[in-house]
Amino acid sequence: MNKLAIWSILGVTLTFLIGPFLIIVAAALSAGDSLAFPPQGLSLKWFVKVFEVDSFRASFGVSMFLAVFGTLTALFLGIPASYGLARYKVPGAEAILLIVSSPIIVPGIIVGLALLRYLVIPTGVGIGLALFLAHTALVLPYAVRVVSASMENLRVDMEEAALLLGCTRLTAFIRIVLPNIRGGVLAAFILGFVTSFNQVPVSLFLSGPGLRTLPIDMIAYMEINYDPSVAALSALSAALSIAIIFAAEKFLGFSRYV
């Protein structure tokens, strides 16, 4: 292939990847009253507006809570699972990994519908709890996969040495295993956080009046008010995700784990 073709493909790819983001940012900077591109004049007023909408503040809180605590819970379950799968000859390990990964494989819209129909409706579980469980389950595959990858390089004999020096199995895990997989754990946390924070299809079924995640709230807002504040909010949350990933790459070499 000649150079021109390569550069064209690269250019097209980048345009499709980054283009929408640039359009959103430009639309958000508009001084006009409706969502449009190219923007009509320049202004930061829609960015200010974002912080004045009550529902955005509430749903941002919900999303943050789900992203932080859902991911922490997923890690709390996923780290021991990765350890067990790496260390012991678990019967049916392949099947367990497949089940753990299923939230990635099964389309979110089906997961959301299933949770609504077979968890929320029959048991009367609050949608808050259902959302929390759903987000934990969605993040679990990332937790298990990323932590497993960093566990692979960890030799068993380090733990055995710790056992001989006075550790129990548990203290050897805490003192030797955890410090040596902390990079993977942090990477899993960040990946989980971003996944949960930007999640739409599952949350769609489990949101209702009074309890919405940020992306769902944005959709609801847009149905009524077609103004550039949604674009501004999109730009802000994309910027948040990008900042987290960049920081992770810089301090941890994030891409090693994913």
Binding site: R155, E160, A161, L163, L164, L165, G166, C167, T168, N180
Partner: protein, 320 residues
């Protein structure tokens, strides 16, 4: 029996695979024992059982009069220097050595750690990370980490095999010195008979999960009891004895080249400093011979006479 460490009818398994069957061994206090044998002979498994990393299927292990068979590794007062060293990569050299003492709540922690590092010649490196050290230095850290715990028995897994020739000699002297100074009982695992001979007070030669022969290096070197033992300590030519019971074994240096009743063809020659080693293809099978380099060189393909003098052979029991 006044043995310090006793293995009594020990059977060790991995799942359904029997790695060691019905092994009994007594080790005296302060002794330096080598568990010697080819890979898969059960030597490492035996060592892991002494350390408590493997629970025996049957049999007992006693250390200093205490039955430790079902005791957790931490409670056995046994140290183990792993072949991979198994240093904790997230801790400094100092913290690696201090690890066990801290868990124990040692009151004289700093003094002991520094003394331990000095003993192995690493007194100047307490703040280095393990990854900044050479293989030989890492092994010394691993040794210090075990020694500061003042274990009753120190186990070493292939302590010399990852080192180059010069470091190997250094480590050998180091281990002998530590053993002399501390009087600690040491058991090390090796597949290398020269290592075992050079270091051990007594060698336990193992084969297929059982003990083939126990003896001092001199005993095993001069008088291997079985064909397997003879082969392992350098008797390259082993033939059935004339009377049909057992066999006779010759070292390459015991075979006479240039005269005798047998004839063979030279298949290989190699120069080894003071001696020259030949491989002969003969009706008896391959025969290894070495001669002083002063003797005339024989070429590959040349036909030569040789003799296997019975008075220079060692008689072995089991012929395999």
């Amino acid at each position: 029996m006044s043995d310090f460490v006793t293995l009594d009818h020990l059977t060790l398994t991995y799942g359904k695979t029997v790695a060691v069957s019905d092994l009994s061994l007594g080790i005296a206090k302060g002794e330096l024992i080598a568990l010697l044998g080819p890979s898969g002979c059960g030597k490492t498994t035996t060592m892991r059982a002494i350390a408590g990393l493997l629970t025996p299927k049957s049999g007992t292990i006693t250390i200093d009069g205490r039955d430790v068979t079902r005791l957790a590794p931490a409670k056995r007062e046994v140290g183990l220097v792993f072949q991979s060293y198994a240093l904790f990569p997230h801790l400094s050299v100092y913290d690696n050595v201090a690890f066990g003492l801290r868990l124990r709540g040692e009151p004289h922690l700093d003094t002991k750690v520094r003394a331990g590092l000095t003993t192995v010649g690493l007194g100047d490196f307490p703040n280095r990370q393990p990854s900044d050290l050479s293989g030989g230095q890492q092994q010394r850290v691993a040794l210090a980490r075990s020694l500061v715990m003042e274990p009753k028995v120190l186990l070493l897994d292939e302590p010399l095999s990852n080192l180059d020739a010069r470091l190997r000699l250094e480590m050998r002297m180091e281990l002998q010195r530590v053993q002399r100074e501390t009087g600690i009982t040491m058991v090390f695992v090796t597949h290398d008979q020269t290592e075992a001979m050079a270091l051990a007070d007594r060698i336990v030669l193992m084969r297929n999960g059982a003990i083939e022969q126990i003896g001092t290096p001199e005993q095993i070197y001069a008088a291997p009891k079985t064909a397997f033992a003879a082969d392992f300590v350098g008797f390259e030519t082993i033939l059935p004895a004339g009377d049909g019971i057992g066999g006779l074994a010759w070292r390459p240096s015991a075979v006479v080249l240039g005269r005798g009743p047998h004839t063979g063809t030279i298949r290989g020659v190699s120069f080894a400093g003071e001696r020259r080693e030949y491989v002969l293809d003969t009706p008896l099978g391959l025969v290894k011979v070495d001669t002083p380099v002063a003797e005339p060189l024989r070429r590959i393909g040349q036909s030569v006479q040789f003799d296997l003098p019975e008075e220079r052979a060692v008689r072995v029991d089991a012929f395999t």
